[in-house]
Amino acid sequence: MKARQVISLEVEDKPGVLSRISTLFSRRGYNVDSLTVGHTHQPGISRFTIVVQGDERTLEQIRKQSQKLIHVLTTTHLEKESSVMREFALVKLEYNEDTSQQINELVDLYGARMLDSTDGALIVEFSGTERKIDLVFEELKELPVLESIRTGKLGMKIGK
């Protein structure tokens, strides 16, 4: 059954590692919904969280093919029940007398943070589950959004 799956890759932070991962995924026809990458607490180690569409077999292949890359250290399937996942978003909104009340309510409701206000443009940070960010973006349809960006998922397995 095709479903969205989340895979976490622990990789050596070598030049071209992003290219290796993305080349592999496009070459083998894996559909990527989102991909995030960043450093970890260990020097020289980065972590990818990749959301892909695929059935069990595809997922198995993705893990095995990724594991074949010399710079990939571990691959983990992040399952809903046994992991936490978060997404971040930045949204720039037209902030004026007409919109301020609605924006303030939204910020309160979703526990967002106002990061900057310049020339009547307010930048707000949202974070939470993918579902929560989806809801935020639903509500934003009613508001004068100037610019927006979502990070895609970050994930981590629970327990030791």
Binding site: R57, K68, L73
Partner: protein
Amino acid sequence: MSEPANISQAQMTGAQALVKTLEMLEVDTIFGYPGGANLPIYDALRNSKIQHILARHEQGAIHMAEGYARIMGKPGVCLATSGPGVTNLITGLADAYLDSIPLVVITGQIPRALIGTDAFQEVDCINITMPVTKHNELIFEEENVVPSLKAAFYIADSGRKGPVLLDFPKDVLSNKFPHHFDHEVKLRGYNPTVVGNIGQIKKALRLLAKAERPLILFGGGITIAKAEQEFLQFIRTTKIPVVRTLMGTGVIADNDPYYIGLIGTHGNSIANRVVQRDADVVMAIGTRLGNRSVIKSHLFAKNAKVIHIDIDPAEIGKSVTIDIPIVGDIKVTLQTMNERVSKRPLGHEEPWITNNYQERTTMLPTKDAASVMEDIFVELSKIDIPLHVSTDVGRHQMWANHHCTNPKHLPLLTSGGLGTMGFGLPAAIGAWFAGQDTPVVCLSGDGSFMMTLQEFSVAVEHKVPLTVIILNDFRLGMIRELQDAQYGSRHTVHDLHRCTNFPKLAEAMGGMGYSVKRREQIGPVLREALNNPLPTLIDFDMEKLLDSIHLSLNPIAS
């Protein structure tokens, strides 16, 4: 070799360090082509014992390295320059990648300061070659020259073997640096599984013991793992019949009672039938179960439970559903299996099916060039001396796979996964440089030979005992065959015409050419060409030969 005491830390150029590392790794032969960016390496090679074979095109160099690697069972080394040097290597890299041939490919790159500026002969080597290499790396720091090179040999020659490419900017090669040589290879993210899981092995043996019609399907992995003896011991002890893929030549004799045939689109129908329909347990060993072998993955072994042994976990379950996966080195895994079955036999008294050699090999007489090809390969197989035989790609490749049966000529060096026309000639030349004083033969067609024929000149230069056999039907035979089968015999672009005089071409390049037009000449000319110390080429005129065969078969004419 006497070495200075402080050898572990000496000021030398990157190129000198590179050559010194190759010597430490016991590289004896490199196939290559020079250019601006790799000249520092050529300068350093002047004082080395390493033999450099100058190809006439980088594609020739890399196929030679493949032929060498296949015979030696260790990585072939290939050297090319930046830009077009790199792009000319792509076919060979892809070929080696698909057929799991260990290569270390060294390319020169433009100096670091110019990278990314579209400088002269600059291409993005790493990104171009990424999908067709097991691993590749741009060596951006002098200190990485030696450790990366050592790692490249280790990666290429372990686990599932394959090509590794290292790209060296010219200034990294030219700058002096205190290079170290005593690193050990440490790769955190690379630990190939060698020993198969014992629980899985036991499960597999239990399944085989319970089976009524167990079958083994094997591919080129047996030869790559050097596991021929272990394999034969296993099937003889357990009485399990076998079928093979195109890459599995030379493991078991064609007339062996346990051998049922070749599977796949160009295989024997009996072999395809037993694997698709008859067997109740199939154990696949050292094959990636590619689409040309299994034909239709949903029909593959449809009445059987499937065990799959392979060194590459990603091949298991990729295209066919597997009941018992075993990841591990084939030799080690078969040793374990042999130990277990010697203590606890599987209980099969005799194979449930045996080699029907007569039925499988007797072809109906056809008015087709195929019958001539068969004659030529049968005559070649009668020449009972050791030969390394390569093929090109096309009809002759498939017929050679069926009819080249002399074990002294096997395994065939053939391009299985990529199907590279032009592989045969350079691969045969590379096989000669693998030593062992064995003459080499390239089986080719008039189409394939034209793709890399310039390498004949290398054979002449080095007095390689090479015989090129051209099965000349004056056309692209397999294209015609496909157009017959799938495009209502609407023939287009398959005709090569009688434009080229191949024997004269061979002579112009310094070799010897023969032309064969009559059937009774086949054997004698083959023997004469193989005895000729010059590189030779035999042009078999398939049309004339076909006519002569029909004449000789016709009682009135005789």
